[in-house]
């Protein structure tokens, strides 16, 4: 494969090249050579099947012979340019030496470059790379331009960028700046977004002097649609809690499962089926040291038991949120003894890819927690950092490909705070 240099950095997946030539030997030769350069190669031996192939399976580039019986290269090029699917696919013409007129005619018809026969295979690779290097960025910008419709202009792009920035700013403001400080409990959070706006979120909702609502969620999809749904969920959750606390009928606080059910029904009614979320919502009772929670199809939180040194997965108790009317949720309670740690996380962490085909996974996260929590001195902020470093080592990159979020809650050991402050 090619080393990622500047334009190649955009080469994220295997690129396909279509070779169209009536000379079988040349087709084979180019196929072997380009495949060894890491390209996926399709072939056709005449103009008509070349077009058919290009439309059925739009390639990233076409190497097209000019001199072919029936439908020649110019005709094929013309038809490629007239079809919406292949209008923008770069084409390099293969012409016989010295036919200057062919070259001019080819470039006029919309070819991106030409190579004269007989050719050196290294020249083919170099020209293919050069043309792809020029057209790759366009390929990635096109969907954005298409999404903007006919109103595309530089001004429009700037406006869109401005809106994106504003959306990101609104979203950042909705996230708590810092975790709440509570008696006996220490809480830390982490949020790494893969794009300017995030589908992952967390929030803390004060319910009473000793009760605090904690949510960690992940809206599927990404970008603006996911961010909008995240804002809907966060707002609905806050309003539902407020409303229930003001009514004072739900004692001592509204049941998490009932809250999640209402959010589910709201999303099912008001959003597209493709927009849904997974989330954990629970209430931490700082007096009883319990976490009463429900889980909407989210990754199972980890519970580190300080006394035994073991880790339990808090298993699911509900379907993902916002996709199915019939979704039902149940509430469970977990006791957090002094020294215990609860870790809720999003799948951007467990689905971080390291070596090909291997996810970071729940087991690695649990092992990281067990290893460092032993002894009872692990602070939640330190654990967030440890996970970040472990992920960077595992995936070989500090740039996440999906949003990552963590909420870590620790019931402090007696005197831990004193020790921490005096040291």
């Amino acid at each position: 494969m090619h080393q990622p240099t500047s334009p190649n950095a955009l080469r994220t997946t295997e690129e396909t090249i279509l070779v169209v030539d009536d000379d079988i030997d040349i087709v084979e030769l180019l196929k072997i050579s380009l495949e060894s350069d890491g390209f996926n190669v399709h072939t056709a031996c005449d103009g008509a099947s070349g077009l058919e192939n290009a439309w059925a399976n739009v390639p990233d580039l076409v190497l097209l012979d000019v001199m072919m019986p029936h439908k020649d290269g110019f005709q094929v090029l013309k038809e490629l340019r007239e079809d919406a699917r292949t209008k923008a696919v770069p084409v390099i013409l293969l012409t016989a030496r010295g036919q200057t007129e062919d070259k001019i005619r080819g470039l006029d018809t919309g070819a991106d470059d030409y190579i004269t026969k007989p050719f050196d295979l290294r020249e083919v690779t170099a020209r293919v790379e050069a043309v792809l290097g020029r057209t790759r960025p366009i390929k990635y910008i096109n969907p954005l331009m298409k999404a903007m419709g006919d109103g595309f202009s530089e001004e429009g792009v700037e406006k869109l960028a401005g809106h994106l920035e504003a959306a990101a700013a609104i979203q950042r403001k909705l996230l708590p700046e810092k975790a709440p400080s509570l008696p006996k409990f220490d809480i830390a959070t982490l949020l790494q977004s893969s794009t300017s706006v995030s589908g992952d979120f967390y929030d803390f909702i004060p319910l009473s002097e000793k009760h605090i609502g904690i949510v960690l969620g992940d809206v599927k999809g990404s970008g603006i649609p996911a961010a909008l749904v995240m804002v809907m969920i966060r707002t609905a959750l806050r309003l539902l809690c407020d409303e229930a606390m003001n009514r004072k009928t739900d004692f001592p606080y509204p049941e998490p499962a009932a809250i999640l059910k209402r959010i589910n029904d709201l999303l099912v009614r008001d959003t597209d089926v493709e927009l849904f979320a997974t989330m954990i919502y629970g209430v931490l009772d700082t007096a009883d040291a319990t976490f009463t929670y429900t889980n909407g199809g989210h990754c199972y939180p980890l519970h580190y038991n300080h006394r035994t040194g073991e880790i339990d997965f808090l298993e699911a108790c509900g379907m993902l949120v916002g996709a199915f009317e019939e979704a039902a949720f149940t509430t469970k309670t977990c006791t957090l003894a002094p020294g215990d740690i609860l870790v809720a996380y999003t799948d951007g962490i467990t689905e971080a890819e390291g070596p090909p085909d291997i996810f970071y996974g729940e087991e690695r996260l649990a092992a990281c927690l067990a290893k460092h929590a032993a002894g009872g001195k692990l602070a939640p902020t330190a654990f967030c950092e440890l996970v970040q470093n472990d992920l960077a080592r595992f995936s070989g990159s500090t740039q996440p490909n999906d949003d990552r979020a963590l909420v870590v809650i620790k019931h402090e050991l007696r005197n831990e705070r004193l020790v921490r402050y005096s040291s």
Binding site: K220, G221, F276, L320
Partner: protein
Amino acid sequence: MQINIRRKGSVTILDIEGKIIGTDTLALKETIEQQLETAPDGKLNLILNMARVQMMDSSGLGVLVASYSSIKRNEGRIVLLNLGGNIRSLIVMAKLVTIFDRYDTEAEAIASFL
């Protein structure tokens, strides 16, 4: 990811090979949408054969959920065949075991539509 489309009577079978992750999931989504568009009366009886799927992530799960809803809307059905790798646990975690019917043999999966 590679998708092969087969038909057995009124049932469409997609043999999926590779990984259903990240942006690659779009190919699966598009294929299912196409099948839904061309199905008679929009009613699609679909089997996703996952025998050769090595892994799936939450985007893949998103495609399954979205497809389930759009197929059901037109009174069609989607069932899963040969769940392996991490897919089974993903579906269990999202509590979707009650939503998706799962089969271990193609004959059983096809029979479920009769």
